[in-house]
Symmetry: C2
Subunit: 305 residues, 2 copies
Amino acid sequence: MKFEVTILGSSSATPIFNRNPSAQALNINDHLYLVDCGEGTQLQMLRFDIKASRIDHIFISHLHGDHYLGLVGLLSSMHLNGRSKALRLFGPPELKEIIDLQLKYSDTTLQYAVDFIPTHTDKAEVILENQDITVETIPLDHRIACTGFLFREKRRLRKIIKEKIAELDIPVDYYSAIKKGADYVSSDGKFYKNSEITIAPEEPKAYAYCSDTLYNENYFAQISNADLLYHESTFLNNMLERAQSTYHTTALQAGDIALKTQAKKLLIGHFSARYKTLNELLDEARSVFPDTELAIEGKTFIVGD
Amino acid sequence: MKFEVTILGSSSATPIFNRNPSAQALNINDHLYLVDCGEGTQLQMLRFDIKASRIDHIFISHLHGDHYLGLVGLLSSMHLNGRSKALRLFGPPELKEIIDLQLKYSDTTLQYAVDFIPTHTDKAEVILENQDITVETIPLDHRIACTGFLFREKRRLRKIIKEKIAELDIPVDYYSAIKKGADYVSSDGKFYKNSEITIAPEEPKAYAYCSDTLYNENYFAQISNADLLYHESTFLNNMLERAQSTYHTTALQAGDIALKTQAKKLLIGHFSARYKTLNELLDEARSVFPDTELAIEGKTFIVGD
């Protein structure tokens, strides 16, 4: 199953030339999920050929402008481009008030439904479950209410080995039970253990999106063993004090979190505009956790790769 | 006196690749004025090296997202970048409510003052007057309340001819009166007409910004004789009906307006996303008013050139 993350923006707070505020497009089994939507996200989508019409779910972590100011523009464009199918929007409760106010004053009634699902920071919650994935909120520790999002693939059924179907003449009616783990007794009474006639599906993959947050162990257990951990790394560790006072994380801390939570791979982003080049941030995170990559606009990362 | 318009965005409604929503930066005597602020304007400013710190006045025509969704991001960045001097913001009364709500939920108190001056559409009003210019609202005819803005240079004083000062030994105390038009009687009793000892200043220039509007003669008298008329041209005239139902203007109509109001030069913009190339729009406007240019991102136009 396809499970990819494309970076649309990786800047924190103020944008800099060629670095947009936070936004990521997830492609999971050819369905698109948008995570955060900083100003200019719809322009980044045009640039990287991410079709807005294919997005049915948008997740907003919190109400700092660099994470949501592109949302009303995107919703408007979907409307103007003739969208009719419903959109699910997840975010802090106050987000709805902000959208409604702006639609009201522009005298716009969207011609598609927006199902708004408020997120909360008191505890982790499963906010979406469909045939492919579950999505949980990750309560983070920021200056205002903020949640990350944990995308987990569902465990797939076992696959029946094609040759065995023909060889043992397994009736179609049995497929469903066998895929779920049942053994098989053939019409001539022979017993086959499930493991002889099926192969295990791939292990479900998980992607954890953590932005913005203070280093805080409270969410470590929840994100443990992520195949890909995106963690904000706003500052270098020589600015630890500044990171703490603004409820952010340093690249060194991000590496430490990846190590402690046994992430398979770390992706760092949400870079302060003071860093014109990003090598130092990458080197610092890699000094603790070597398998680290930079969230660069337009780059796609395969979860579990 | 410098009087220039740099285009930051020229797209209507939905952006297209490489065409941003409405925004223009005016440089008048080395002071910057921002007119409209569609999504991504602060990124365009970074791209074209327009310093946000030099902007002290922002004018928002109306509350359709393509004209103001970049504003809160820009205000936030000014705050984060340490601005302390006051900013004057002109726009529809409801704009303040939109900004205040978003600042509230991001728990942000701007560290500089925003003096908000509401605009109205019942009649034209002078909303700004300083040493260089006056700015008037232009009540337009759009689906929601919308004003254009008319920037007029102030008439400069006459200039005393340098050689005459020495030749006639004009005392410094007389300069002010002579610059305002007074004649001069020298110490030996000789009479000099003002026109003999001064030269006329350049005629004051005017820039009219008209977006978005239905073709409506009500504002023609006010914008007459503009040195540069920016007029929206959302559609080609073969979509006149669509232009009318959405309260917009066609390129042919924009040319006609420039002709009727005796503009010196016409600048067309606010192009529908359906036009990937703009030649047809330009040709259509030029068929009526030859001195027409396209509002292209990054291009600077000198008012009165």
